[in-house]
Point group: C2
Chain length 329, copies 2
């Protein structure tokens, strides 16, 4: 058996050599500009054995924001589209919504009016559409919705409004022993039903905002009931807190697109050893959307200044990406 093992090992080495020689570009949708070069240089640096910057595989943690970093977030967060559709679907069971804000405005199609009351209105919409049911029921509602939900402008499935270059980046990092996590301000239970299929990221590697749940016995069967009470907001200063809570070790690479990701990038950068921080800058009005310092959604202002000051990598979607969205399936 020992000789077979040796032959096996030799063949594996030979094959690995062939594979490397014939390797295709791992990031074909990226132009050969600075960001792509910086990513590859970083990955080679931390994966080269006997290098002083070598990082063992179990410490290769990479965290990704979702909205605006992995998929589109314009003209509104997609989770808000979900909430709107749920309000319509639930309206027959809530006749009182006809005269009760923010629902009355929403049902008339007046989103602006519904949100005029500020955060309170938004919170009421979230609670009415995301709580009361069990976690299993909510999982099914999201799964059913995401299967057909389309983007209001492009008409494409929302799950196709994901950035092809970022899908390649996720795969490239994983092929190099990284564990990829989502760390998003979006709802953790809103993302988990579909991110494994779309990004290859399993539910246990998703960190997000959440409501409280309660263990209950219903007809002798245990369920978790979603309560109308906020558990955790995974945004801004919440992102390092969420990372510490869920992952328990500091990422060596972090990817975001807004000021809401700044503390995650700061937290990542502050670790010892090689670190990589990247901002996606929405600079392509033609192929996607162009927005930064003054946007209500995905504002990138302080983050852009800090990225420049700290020499973090900034991706211009217009200049650095050959393709924006993944091809239709």
């Amino acid at each position: 058996m020992k000789s077979i093992r040796s032959a096996f090992a030799l063949l594996a080495i030979a094959l690995a050599g062939l594979t490397t020689t014939q390797a295709q570009d791992p990031l074909p949708s990226w132009n050969d500009t600075a960001p792509k070069k910086a990513i590859i240089a970083f990955v080679e640096r931390v994966t080269t054995k006997d290098s002083p910057d070598f990082v063992p595989p179990n410490e290769r943690i990479a965290t990704f924001d979702n909205d605006g970093t992995l998929w589109c977030e314009q003209p509104v967060y997609f989770q808000f589209l979900f909430a709107l559709e749920r309000v319509k679907a639930l309206a027959p069971q809530h006749p009182e919504w006809k005269t009760k804000e923010p629902f009355a405005s929403l049902l008339k199609g007046d989103v602006k009016g519904a949100l005029a009351g500020g955060e309170k209105g938004l919170l009421e919409i979230v609670m009415a559409t995301h709580t009361g049911m069990t976690t299993d029921e909510f999982h099914k509602i999201v799964t059913d919705w995401i299967t057909t939900a389309k983007h209001p402008k492009s008409g494409r499935l929302l799950t196709e409004m994901v950035y092809q270059p970022m899908l390649e980046l996720l795969a490239y990092l994983r092929a190099n022993g990284f564990k990829t996590f989502i760390v998003s301000g979006g709802g953790i239970e809103f993302m988990r039903p579909w991110v494994e299929k779309v990004y290859g990221i399993p539910p246990e590697q998703v960190v997000g905002s959440s409501g409280k749940t309660k263990f209950e016995m219903v007809d002798g069967k245990p369920v978790l009931r979603k309560l109308p009470e906020i558990n955790f907001v995974d945004d801004n200063v919440g992102k390092p807190v969420g990372i510490n809570q869920h992952i328990g070790r500091r990422p060596i690479a972090a990817f975001g697109n807004s000021d809401g990701d700044l503390q995650m990038l700061q937290w990542t950068a502050a670790g010892s050893g090689p670190r990589f921080c990247l901002y996606v800058h929405h600079s392509d009005a033609e192929r996607e959307f162009a927005y930064d310092r003054k946007s209500h959604i995905g504002r990138l202002d302080k983050g852009l200044d800090e990225a420049k000051a700290k020499s973090w990598t900034v991706v211009s979607m217009k200049d650095d990406w050959k393709t924006i969205f993944s091809p239709a399936k």
Copy 2:
């Protein structure tokens, strides 16, 4: 290259055949009694391709309680030993503790007196010893302590007071594509510094009780400060909540030793498809400790009844385990 690939594949198959034929017992510290047979039967059932009970690797989630399931919890929870030593170490900075309970009693060596006030006293001890510092500082305090901390009765390192049969079980499950998680009532930040080395479980696969943390900038460097405020209690009904929050999918196998694990086992059992629930029963007064229905620590009463009613696997440490503790290193 294609022919090399084929040769490679053939060799791999041949090697796999050899390995299976010559396979060693994966659970050598288990007697050949019912629990061992049930474990192996379950693993074979869910890993056999083309079987109706096949479970894809990404859904092979197994959760383990820690205290009393993976390591010893007698005569007191080991985290309490940590807290006691911290009180002693911090006492010079707290002259007021000389007259303030529960610290005054503790410092005199009167643990019973210190805890006479019930949960309030215990909570004060935890807050005084587990909060105020940054997460990095706490990580170092725990790491330093666990390196030398010894068991009050056996005199062995606490990290050697782990159950050898359970270490084998963890490795066996992982070798069969399972992802193993700890789901413990113990502190998540108390466990993470050492569980990877001791159990092979990485920090991101640890669920536990936690306090709140706060993102702060100290001299331009971000830190997470541990606040004297409870975030989550991962025990009893909290275990399914913690599993849902951290893992986001239901385990197919769960392992515990007390009534505090009952809801985790119920939650696991209630999923569709093949499920495996196991209780470790502390029945060996000679080699470990014997306790169950009336113990203050690790009480197993309702759980024992439910295990019998539901035909879950119950391990008698006395009868089913050849060895209890891992050999000295």
